[in-house]
Each structure stands twice: as structure tokens, then as C-alpha cells.
Symmetry: C2
């Protein structure tokens, strides 16, 4: 498929890529729950226990038989005999019978015989050994029954769920010490271009340092993948093909930055076309920056050719590499993306039919944030380093006017 014969909108291009991938089937890894933050469940998680394990009070107050409180009010209090205080972390050691009450703290175990808790605020001290109840409690009030939160065998987490602090604590509360998560997809990263040298080398005149391998590796890592660097590949078909075939065999995804000139991009597309069916699926996306993007599937694995330009490579990786990593992790598609609401500080022109991603700085104003575009000539990577995020101009907009409300996506 020659470059730019058909320019797909980014969402359609991604759809075509994902539709050509096999169903996600992540390799399963078992991890201690305490080391699983940010990982994605590979299996649903079932509770081995019930929660709470015993009837617990949800307030500070008095454990009672509810019927003993019926009709109690400020003007007509009920009087109950105090039979003890429930110790925290142990069985009460006594029962509550008709006409009796026991002091209980939040989280304390309900004594046998009690079926409700009256909040401390609705009681007052009476004669020694007695308590005055000023309000009625319904049976079950202010307590949790065993298993009311979680039943044995209940699914508490589905497969394909990214673990946050709440889930880490939740599993430990149920005595779940290890969790099956998806192994991080291995993403091969290759940089092509005869002018590119490794960052530790001092460039000779005409040479530049490799940026893309490292900014892309960081993006892959942040998305939940494992970056495997294959270094810099010269712009020769046979070397490129050999290195890409090795990467395809060893990794789950291959990403190559395809050099800056049209000829090296065509070379990349040709090599992807030879590496396995269906080969190149998309060659050119209707987006700025990043038009010369190549998306393909070879031997069941995604192969992505990114523009050589560092800004384009990073923006486009956010659009295609991150979703591919998430797909391989088993995460569901179309989950909400967090962003920052802002108003445009200037008019932003754009070409109708093309989607634009404009780096912006967010400046706090009286009425929320203003998004100030960062204009640039050379696609310098530090343009992005100065930006708080990207503003997306849709294809059907003829640019966006100053004051328009926009959603700024993080970089």
C-alpha cells in the first residue's frame, strides 16, 4: 500500500489495526498483591472468605435487642441494664438479653442476643450500671451482618482490571496474598536513520542523537508494557528486515521509527509487507503531526511504523502504541481518558478533514485554565517538554475559536 493513497482518520486506523489482531490472550504471571499496583488482572478474582466474618457495629454506641428500644424518646427514655463493654479484636464473652445493653465501638463484634446498635448520641448515662436510650433502633440498625459485604466465592474483581490502591487493600482484606496478572507485553523498539547515533555518542557533523528509542520506551513503560530496545538500524532493506524479523520473533509488538524522509518510510512499509500476512493495513493517517504512520499486523502481531520526527513519534505512539499495549494486557477498549478542561487562549486554525493535536501549556486563570498553544518550527522534542498536554482539533472543525472549551489530554 503506497503512502498517502488513502488517509484514514486516526480512530478508523486504530479500529482497522485492532480488528486484525487475534483475541487478547495475555500470558499469566502470579505476583504478591503488594507488588501488583498498576498491573492488570488476567483472571477474575473470587473471594475465599466472607466479609465481614462476624456481625460488626458500624458506630460507637450500645448493642441492644431492638424491641427493647421501641417507643423510646427524649421524653420517654428506655432504661437498660449495662452488662459490659465489647473489647476490640475479641469475642464479647457475654450475651445481651432482654432489658440489657453493652457498650460497643465502631468495628466491634456484636454480642450474641443483640440485633441492633443505638448510637452514643441517642443515649445518656443513667444510674450506675444503667443506660438511658432516647431513640428507637430498628432490628439490624447500625450493624453489618456476616457476609453482607462479600460472600464466599463472589467475584470481587473482573479480569482485565487495572489495580489501584483500593484493589490492593481490598484483596488483602480478604486474605488474598497473590494475584494473577497479565505479563507486560514486550514491545520491540527500533530506530532507523543513517544520521542517528546512540545518545552517549558525540554526534559528528550531520549526525543527531537517538531520541525516539528512549521517549517511546518511557511511553511503553507508562502504558504497562516492557520496552525492549533493538537500537539503531541503518536504512538498508536487508539489514532492516533481518532486525525486524528478530524483533517480531522475540516480542509481542514491533515499533520502528521510520526515518524522516519519504524514501526511508517507503522502505519500512516494504519490509513490513514482507514479514507476514496481512502486512501493512494503514499507510498514512489524516492527522497532524504524524501523517506518515504505518500500521500493520504480521504473524498475528502488531507492527507499527512511526514518523521519525520525535514530536510526531511520541504523539502518534500515544494514539496507537498505548492502545495496542492495553489491548494485549486485556484491558477493555474505550475506557474514559482523564483530561483537564480549559479554554483556548487564541484562535487555532486547522485544515478541515484533518485531525490536529496541538501541544499546549495550561495557565491558571480566574475562571479555570487557559490553554496556550506552543508553536514550533522544527518539531523539537522540548516543545512537548514545555507542554502540559495536547488539544485535539476534530476533523470536522475548521479550527477552534478563542474561548472554546477544550479537553487537554496529558502527554
Amino acid at each position: 500500500m503506497p503512502e498517502f493513497l488513502e488517509l484514514l482518520p486516526p480512530a478508523q486506523a486504530l479500529r482497522r489495526l485492532l480488528d486484525h489482531l487475534p483475541a487478547p490472550d495475555p500470558v499469566v504471571e502470579t505476583l504478591p498483591v503488594t507488588q501488583a499496583l498498576g498491573r492488570v488482572t488476567a483472571r477474575s478474582v473470587l473471594s475465599p472468605e466472607r466479609l465481614p466474618a462476624f456481625a460488626r457495629s458500624t458506630v460507637d454506641g450500645y448493642a441492644v435487642k431492638a424491641r427493647d428500644t421501641f417507643g423510646a424518646s427524649d421524653s420517654l427514655p428506655g432504661y437498660l441494664i449495662l452488662v459490659g463493654e465489647v473489647p476490640m479484636g475479641a469475642q464479647p464473652g457475654f450475651d445481651v438479653r432482654l432489658g440489657q445493653a453493652a457498650l460497643i465501638h465502631t468495628g466491634g463484634m456484636l454480642p450474641e442476643g443483640a440485633d441492633a446498635v443505638v448510637m452514643l448520641e441517642y443515649t445518656q448515662a443513667a444510674r450506675p450500671g444503667e443506660v438511658e436510650v432516647l431513640r428507637a433502633a430498628a432490628p439490624g440498625e447500625n450493624l453489618l451482618h456476616p457476609g453482607e459485604d462479600v460472600q464466599v466465592g463472589q467475584e470481587v474483581l473482573s479480569a482485565g482490571w487495572r489495580l489501584r490502591p483500593a484493589e490492593i487493600g481490598g484483596m488483602l482484606a480478604l486474605g488474598i496474598g497473590t494475584v494473577q496478572v497479565a505479563r507486560r507485553p514486550r514491545v520491540a523498539i527500533l530506530s532507523s536513520g543513517d544520521e542517528v547515533v546512540p545518545p552517549e555518542v558525540t554526534p559528528m557533523p550531520g549526525q543527531v542523537r537517538d531520541i525516539n528509542s528512549y521517549s517511546l520506551a518511557a511511553l511503553v513503560e507508562r502504558s504497562g508494557g516492557e520496552a525492549v530496545l533493538y537500537g539503531i538500524v541503518p536504512d538498508r532493506a536487508e539489514v532492516l528486515e533481518e532486525r525486524m524479523r528478530a524483533a517480531l520473533a522475540e516480542c509481542d509488538v514491533v515499533v520502528i521509527t521510520a526515518g524522516s524522509s519519504a524514501s526511508t518510510r517507503d522502505l519500512t512499509a516494504a519490509v513490513i509487507g514482507r514479514m507476514g500476512a496481512p502486512g501493512v493495513l494503514v499507510h498514512g493517517v489524516n492527522v497532524k503531526p504524524g501523517k506518515p504512520t504505518i500500521l500493520g499486523v504480521c504473524a498475528g502481531k502488531p507492527v507499527i511504523g512511526l514518523p521519525g520526527n520525535p514530536v510526531s513519534a511520541l504523539v502518534i505512539a500515544g494514539l496507537f502504541v498505548a492502545p495496542v499495549v492495553e489491548r494485549l494486557l486485556g484491558l477493555p477498549e474505550g475506557r474514559p481518558k482523564a483530561c483537564v478542561p480549559a479554554r483556548l487562549a487564541v484562535n487555532l486554525p486547522s485544515q478541515a478533514g484533518r485531525e490536529d493535536f496541538i501541544p499546549v501549556r495550561l495557565v491558571a486563570g480566574e475562571d479555570g485554565y487557559r490553554a496556550e498553544p506552543i508553536f514550533y518550527k522544527s518539531n523539537l522534542i522540548f516543545t512537548l517538554a514545555q507542554a502540559d498536554g495536547l488539544v485535539h482539533i476534530p476533523a470536522d472543525a475548521n479550527g477552534l475559536e478563542v474561548g472554546t472549551e477544550v479537553w487537554v489530554e496529558r502527554l
Copy 2:
């Protein structure tokens, strides 16, 4: 300061805490740039080199002397003698003189004598060894001068900047291999409560497993801190004080979940009050969940007492522990928080004067996301595990109506 004598709004409570902390002065750690993703710069980063190091073409085209193209058009092309092709990654090895042009690729080094590049699209093949120029190029057009992007000694990153993929790539592009970052603040985490047992222990009747230590450790880690677990402390003043003093001496922040009942919370506040001036600054915040929050500063270090309830502890840690970690890292205050715009699926009542944080699930609809509150009785941690984020109801709202646009903050 006794509990709930004065209930501060959350923003004011945080302000009071931060205003009592010394100016941030993070310990500096030097890291390879490739391992610094997510870390925060401790010093500004200056460029040791200029970028680009040589005059580079930003397009595929012909390097020319601009004056040779003046007046060129489709109907009156200019004819130039082709003197060569600029190799990628090397010096051209020839000059461009009056009446001459050289083929150059994007990123190629401009030959001596040339001062502009004509895009390939505006040229066509002529007789062998000649090129036809169909449009004029201004001096400097389609090229970058040495140092135009970055000058030697220029500040490319300020101190207190969180490193993202763009910054990682950007530093490597300048030959910067190591970066000075703020050491992760050490956050001591203690759980109190006689009913609490470690997660690997099977609870006896009346006991529950520790959740907070682990959900809070995960939150601290995600905020850029290092969690140091001090385990479970019994509800006795002398033991609590001894363990908290050790934590205060060894760490930069102390966080304790203060037990569920009012008496254990008062105990925590009393101990914080004895650990150094100014001691307790806030005791009670006008927020739900999380009213019984304690904020203090002892010996120049923040000490935070969280409610024992796991949902409250995690929500409140997001409001106070995360900003404290960011402050100690040297990050500026008030940076935009990413969120997901949605519309409320139901009416949400709330008490005027109090701020509420309601866990919600986000459901994709035709017109964006609907936020569906997750109601709960017991502050079960899995309430949060089912939630995509929190909806904030401000103090002056008397609840929020169905259909209201809300910003859902991630958990």
C-alpha cells in the same frame, strides 16, 4: 485541639498544613536519565550543547541560494545545476554556489553556501544534471539554524518538574545522560486498632485484617513517595508515642490510621500533640467521608492522622497525603488535575456547608459518560474498587441534580 471543635473545609485545612511546613528542600539523587521516568527534577537542567548542532533541512527538497529562486514560478521556472546529494549522517562534502542546487533529505546537513531549501513538491526534473525550481524560497526557509532550538547553557527544564517520556528523550538528545532528581520522600505508615491483624493472619472472631497500610502504601508510591510500613500499633498511648516518635525520626512524613472509634482518635491527637511544636493544626475536616482527620506538624515534618475506615482513609489520603508528598518533592502547587467529564445519572443529596466525595462508576452513553454513584453502607473498600473515580460536591451546593456536568477525579 479537641475533635470537631472547628471543622475546616478541606482546602483550608491543607493550606494550614502546608503553611506550617518549612520550604521544600528535597535530598538530591543522581539517576541515569533512562531510569528517571516519573521522578521530579531537583535542579534546573541546562543544555551542555546547542541544538541543532548544524544547519539542517526540515523537508525533503533542494538546498539552494535563495536569491537564485527569486521570481521563480510555474510559468517561469528557475534552472539550477545539480551538484550532488547530501548524505544522511555526514557532511555534504561540497558547497552550493550561485546557480547550483543539491538534493537534501529531511534532517540532512545544509551544504556550505546554501541558505534555503526548496520543497521537492515545488521542483521538477529538467535536463540531466539540472533541476527546475517552480517557486521562490526566502532565505532561511525550510531549515533550522545551529542553536535555533536550544542554546548552550539554556535552561531546558526547571526544578520541580515531573519527568515524562518527552523530557526523557529531550535530555538524551542533548547528550545529558544523568539527571538530579528529588529523593522519594519516605512516608511512615502506621495502623492502629486492637482489632487489626496483618493480612497474612487468619482473623479470630472480632478481628479484621489490616487494609490501610497497603492501600496507603500504594497511594504513596503512586504519588512519588516511598512507603515505609511500621505495622500495627495497639491503642495504648505509650506504645503509640514510642512508635510514632521512631517513625518521625526515620521518615519525612508520618501517616497513621487512627482507629475507628472516637476514643482512639483522641488518643492519636493527644500523642501528635506531644511530639513537637506546633503539633495538631487541624482536628476535624468538613468533608464526607473523612470528618475525623487530624493534620499536624511536629519538628518540621507533617504528621497525618487518617480515619480508620478504609474508604475514608484512602479518599482523605488523596486530599492530604498526596499533596504533601508532592510538596516534599518540590512540585509546584495547584497544577491541573486530570479528570473525566460526565453527567450525573441521579440526584445526589448533600448537606450544605460540607464537601462530599462520592464514588461513581462511569458508563459510556451516546452523549459522553454518565456518572452512577455507588451507594454503600459500610465503607467497604470494594466500593472504591468498583468505582472509576470520585465526584466532588462543593460545600455551597445543596446536593447536585441529575444531569449536572461533573468532573470525575480518578482514584
